[in-house]
């Protein structure tokens, strides 16, 4: 493992930034990182694209970006900063910079279609953005149709004359004009303000922005850090893209204790087993599909990963079969199934795998989601939001400090999802997940969805969004999207049935593909003169699934 030169911790003795005002203690999500800068300045904070950044170095880069934006951004706009960067040092520094200037961050993903990225940017109203070199290739296209004056900081590029010439309405800053990190000063951050704004699939055809506040995410981090006794010796995997909220756990739990985050490149992601051993990973976190993938490739052989001490899975149903294989491959690791939608801040229930007890507690080959985090209040309800009898299945509602602040600029959607059930004073989030708590004191079991949300290889997808986009682009009303082929965790892709004579009009498939992230793009279109309907007059999804299974 490469060594890092021992350098004095930033903030020690002569640097008075921290001692002058201990306000960073109130800096919400970035608090742990800032403390670790002080305590572990010379230790590695991030390994990414062949580069190792010590805490002190990452702090200097982030503080410089934060000061640059604070000093150069003109005009109003919400306290949000976009980070258009992917698996690069700039991505990590950009996120910290947003937080260190007192803003929430809005991650954008260059693997998504430009049109979607632009829609997210416009909806967020961000007036400042940090951009890495790879994402910058999409910048000209992204700027088409952005009217508000924006500030772009490009720390991987020397100067920005060409960009300024092409886009005189915006301000671009390269390395030459970056403000020194020494100009950074802690900012007061209200624990009720937004720490990050993440867009998730929306059933009406438009992605919705989930606002997660500092208080919620601090609650998650404090609990998880303590539960798994994370230390500065730990080395965390970073499998999740920043547009997926589970990435927040990788970064900020690691930084809370001075540990190192190891970020694999796109190319390395295809070989997770080698990555674990080459990077001496001790804390693993992924969607179950990644482990299923490893199992299929024979990468879960007995004792393959003796160095792992914590393995966490979240994001989709966890198959018992997979955990059994994982526990043989990582014999020294505790294994936990975490559960929680973005609206409940990363995860809000957990279940520790026990090889003796767990198989009998599982239902239909799926590991239980377990018990709520401290102070989180689960409630299992029927359609009228009344609590069901013990042992009965129902929709899971959840209250407590990890409730998101709501949906960005969407009070109607917020009111529909964050509710006060009859006779309750507290607000609960409606997860849309069907669960059951066995009579007695068994762990919560995940049974499925109450609506048409699905997990496509760990990605949260509203089939309604796919249907809405296909409807708009095709002009055809009768559209049903299905997740297929199905697995115990979710599904592999999306297929669409249209009530029309085929074939599709030219260009329609491309237009749909240009609006959706790759995992939501319908793989195939099937044309039927009449879509089957069930007794309630609704499209019969099961009949269509049966049709797919019977193909070719």
């Amino acid at each position: 493992m490469p060594r890092i030169e021992n350098r004095p911790a930033v903030g020690s003795k002569k640097n008075s930034i921290f001692t002058a005002q201990e306000k960073y203690g109130e800096m919400g999500l970035s608090r742990g990182f800032l403390r670790s800068v002080k305590a572990f300045g010379g230790c590695p904070a991030v390994e990414v694209s062949g580069e190792i950044l010590a805490y002190g170095e990452l702090f200097e880069r982030s503080a410089s970006l934060a000061s640059t934006m604070a000093e150069h951004q003109t005009g109003g706009g919400p306290p949000l900063t976009a980070v258009f960067a992917y698996r690069s040092a700039t991505a990590f520094a950009g996120i910290l910079a947003a937080l260190m200037r007192g803003h929430g961050y809005v991650p954008l993903n260059r693997t998504f279609p430009i049109e979607r990225t632009r829609a997210m940017l416009r909806r967020s109203g961000c007036r400042a953005m940090v951009v890495d070199a790879e994402s910058e290739k999409q910048l000209d296209q992204l700027l088409e149709g952005i009217d508000e004056r924006m500030l772009f900081v490009l720390p991987e590029r020397q100067e920005t004359l060409d960009l300024t010439a092409r886009w005189p309405g915006h301000r671009f800053i390269g390395v030459e004009e970056l403000v020194s990190h020494e100009r950074w000063r802690p900012v007061d951050v209200s624990l009720d303000s937004i720490a990050y704004l993440l867009f998730t699939s929306g059933s009406t055809g438009v992605p919705k922005g989930v606002m997660v506040g500092h208080r919620s995410v601090r609650h998650y981090i404090d609990f998880v850090t303590e539960r798994f006794s994370m230390t500065c010796e730990d080395r965390f995997s970073q499998m999740f893209d920043m547009t997926f909220d589970l990435s927040v756990s990788d970064l900020f739990v690691a930084w809370e204790r001075g540990a190192c985050v190891c970020c694999p490149s796109e190319k390395t992601l295809i070989n997770p087993g080698r990555f674990i051993n080459e990077k001496n990973i001790t804390v693993w976190f992924s969607v179950p599909s990644t482990a299923v993938f490893m199992k299929r490739l024979g990468a879960l052989k007995a004792n393959a990963y003796p160095g792992l001490r914590v393995s966490l899975f979240c994001g989709e149903a966890l198959p018992v079969e997979m955990v059994t294989a994982w526990s043989a491959a990582a014999p020294n690791s505790v294994i936990e199934n975490l559960y929680g939608p973005t609206e409940l801040t990363i995860a809000c229930t957990c279940y520790r795998w026990d090889p003796l007890r767990s198989p009998s507690e599982a239902a239909d080959g799926v590991v239980p989601i377990g018990e709520p985090f401290p102070d989180m209040g689960p409630l299992v309800v029927d359609d009228a939001l009344d609590a069901v009898a013990p042992g009965q299945a129902g929709e899971l509602l959840m209250s407590g400090p990890q409730l998101a602040l709501g949906y960005w600029n969407d009070p109607i959607l917020t009111a529909a999802a964050f509710v006060k059930p009859p006779g309750c004073d507290e607000t609960y989030y409606r997860t849309g997940d069907r669960v059951r708590r066995p009579a007695g004191k068994g762990p919560l079991l995940f049974l499925g969805r109450v609506d048409s949300q699905v997990k496509i290889l760990g990605h949260r997808v509203e089939l309604g969004e796919v249907e809405a986009v296909v409807r708009e682009e095709s002009g055809i009303d009768g559209v049903v999207a299905l997740a297929w082929p199905r697995s115990i965790s979710g599904a592999g892709g999306v297929e669409v049935f249209l009530q029309a004579e085929g074939p599709a009009q030219p260009g329609m498939k491309q237009q749909v593909a240009a609006r959706l992230p790759f995992y939501m793009v319908p793989r195939r279109y099937h044309f039927l003169r009449k879509l089957p309907v069930n007794a309630n007059g609704k499209y019969d999804r099961q009949a269509l699934i049966n049709r797919l299974e019977a193909l070719p």
Binding site: T290, L297, G492, K509, Y519, V521
Partner: protein
């Protein structure tokens, strides 16, 4: 069943990903063996699972991928040949 060929697998994958291929402005006829679904942005690393499961479902086969180098799995030619060589037919799924 008749012997599955790499060509069968290849044409199925090109048809299955046809809307993505069209969006990228590619001509399916001009796509060669070295075409990389991952590099083209049509799938992410987990998309290999999707490729595996659609091929298994479509051809009603089971394939043992244990001996395959993960970094070659996203290549059209390598994947197709591997599937054709290692396909074991099985009963259609219930």
């Amino acid at each position: 069943m008749t012997q599955l060929t790499a060509k069968d697998v290849r044409s199925f994958l090109l048809e299955y990903f046809s809307s993505m291929i069209a969006m990228n402005g590619l001509d399916p006829a001009a796509i060669n063996e070295d075409f990389d679904f991952l590099r083209a942005g049509m799938i992410d690393s987990l998309g290999v699972l999707e490729m595996i499961s659609v091929v298994e479902q479509h051809f009603k086969i089971a394939v043992d991928f244990e001996r395959m180098d993960p970094s070659e799995l996203t290549l059209l030619g390598k994947f197709s040949h591997f599937v054709a060589r290692n396909a074991n037919s099985r009963e259609p799924l219930p």
